[in-house]
């Protein structure tokens, strides 16, 4: 990756729509080469945090730094070459094809009137292939299943070739095959291509299997940050999620796996 910006540092970040803060005084960081997973119950503020990190929402207090430089000092097109977001879902009013939408990932690299270069086409083709969409390339986005649409959004983000990826539950509509594909892809992007990946996950077992560090959130605050073994403690999880949970080691890898009691 050619972009130098990779490490995100968050200092005393707070954000609210109304009086009750959705995000309360968060401080943490994640770095290049790391798959950083965020878990926590519904309404913990995970998605709000993701859009704050992506610069879509503006924090009321605290700061977000990109390699020490405040996020707010980046212009929108420059930011889109450094980091991108994979939203949980998107819909579109018109009949654009998969290729059209993935090629939007190349917009930040060109002036408004330029057309796609051969290099762009190669990047788009690769992104489409990595997400298993090659045979749907010319299909209309709106006519795909929700899982296929989610993969299109992942492909668009890959085509953006950013050094930071923010993923909002990227596997929620996917079957087990593509869920594992996406986790493995995220892990290899982090470890082999040295990307920084921030991923919200509801699947605790996959988070445990693939992520380097995990941040457990509840009610807008950080409960604990650490390696999977440190986070996935039965008492801690049962307490945060409000239901009895047990943790057993995975029979092959020894990583913690989470089960209902």
């Amino acid at each position: 990756m050619s972009n130098q910006y990779q490490d995100i540092t968050v200092n005393q970040l707070s954000y609210s729509y109304t009086e009750n803060p959705l995000i309360h005084d968060l401080s943490f960081d994640f770095k290049a080469g790391e798959l950083f997973n965020v878990v926590g119950p519904n309404g913990a503020g995970k998605t709000t945090l993701l859009y704050l990190l992506g610069g879509i929402l503006k924090p009321q207090s605290g700061e977000i730094l990109l390699d020490g430089i405040p996020l707010s000092s980046f212009k929108r097109p420059a930011l889109a070459r450094i980091m991108t977001i994979i939203p949980a879902e998107s819909n579109i009013a018109f009949d654009f094809t998969v290729f059209d939408i993935v090629s939007m990932g190349r917009y930040p690299y060109h002036s408004p009137l330029a057309s796609l270069t051969n290099n762009d086409r190669e990047i788009i083709r690769e992104a489409i292939e990595q997400t298993g969409l090659t045979k749907y390339k010319n299909n209309i986005f709106n006519q795909l299943s929700s899982g296929e649409r989610q993969r299109v959004l992942i492909a668009r983000a890959l085509a953006q070739k950013t050094s930071i990826l923010l993923m909002d539950e990227p596997t929620v509509h996917l079957d087990i095959h593509y869920q594992l594909d996406i986790y493995r892809l995220a892990q290899s992007l982090a470890h082999d291509k040295n990307l920084s990946i921030f991923m919200i996950s509801h699947n605790l077992n996959y988070a445990s299997m693939y992520s380097d560090r995990i941040m457990l959130m509840n009610e807008g605050r950080i409960v604990k940050i650490g390696i999977p073994d440190a986070i996935f403690q039965p008492e801690l999880l049962s307490d945060v999620y409000g239901t009895a949970l047990s943790v057993y080691p995975h029979p092959k890898t020894g990583k913690p796996t989470i089960w209902p009691d």
Binding site: R76, P87, I92, M104, P112, L113
Partner: protein, 335 residues
Amino acid sequence: MKNRKIVLFAIPFCWIFIFLLCWKSGTVIITWEQLKNTLFGAAASDQTNIILLQVRLPRLLLAALTGATLSLTGAVFQALLRNPLADPYILGISGGSALGAVVAMGFSLHLMIIGFQIVPIFAVCGAFFTILFVYNFSRIGNYLPTHTMLLAGISLQAMLSALILFLQTLLDPLQLMQVFTWLMGSIPTPEYGNLLWISLYVLLAIGVILPQARHLNALTLGERDAQIVGIDVERLKKILFFSCSLLTGSIVALTGLIGFVGIIIPHLLRLLIGPDHRRLLPACVIAGSIFMVVADTLARVLLAPTEIPVGVITALIGGPFFLFLLWRNKRKGMR
């Protein structure tokens, strides 16, 4: 690919041919020979020259500008509001500029300020405030609910019409007649001076809008997704709201309310060439202008020497088309 080149090559010729045909048509019969003589300055009778150059040509040019404007703004609003049914007329924006124009006309503010007429300025402001209202009223965060927006537009249009009617009761009969004819929507025969100013506004706005085509593509996935791929959405919206109000206002001030062109043309073109705005927007300018030239010619010749307001013709084509779109959307919803 080869077919496409042929089509691209054929379009200007078709456009010019249809334009000449419409130029030739009218109550007074004019032959191709006479048209040729006038065009190339050869010996033509004065009467023919006057009909062609002073009566028909400025009107045809205004019709072309009107059609281009209405379809282009239609396409832009549809992208901006992420709604295939958006159109300046339905969203109350035409009504807003009409109210502005009627206020200016009613109070006889026919002043000129350095080439800027008061009526278009009022019309532009009316259009601008209406679109700001409809947009901000309907928006919930990143989400623009279709129903709220259409209903807000339609109720605003009704309120604006009521205000226009109210203003009409205050006018004297002569002004009333003038305003009434204007509201029905028709292409007048403008003076060349006026036409020049209007074309300047329109070309300026088109020049600003066309390069935003790719940004509009991204915006059809929503404001959030447009930001994700690096688009400064707030700036884009300001540019588009402003230039579309300029376009709609300056045209409505001259032609009154001509509905549905902004829906028919972009939709037909999407069916033909797809939703990519890089092709769609220029196509709207080309197809919209010729559509309006034809519609206005029909308005002139169908019941000649009586003229039908061109708004009647576009509404009679556009109304059923709009219902067809709603019906198709309804079936999509059921599936």
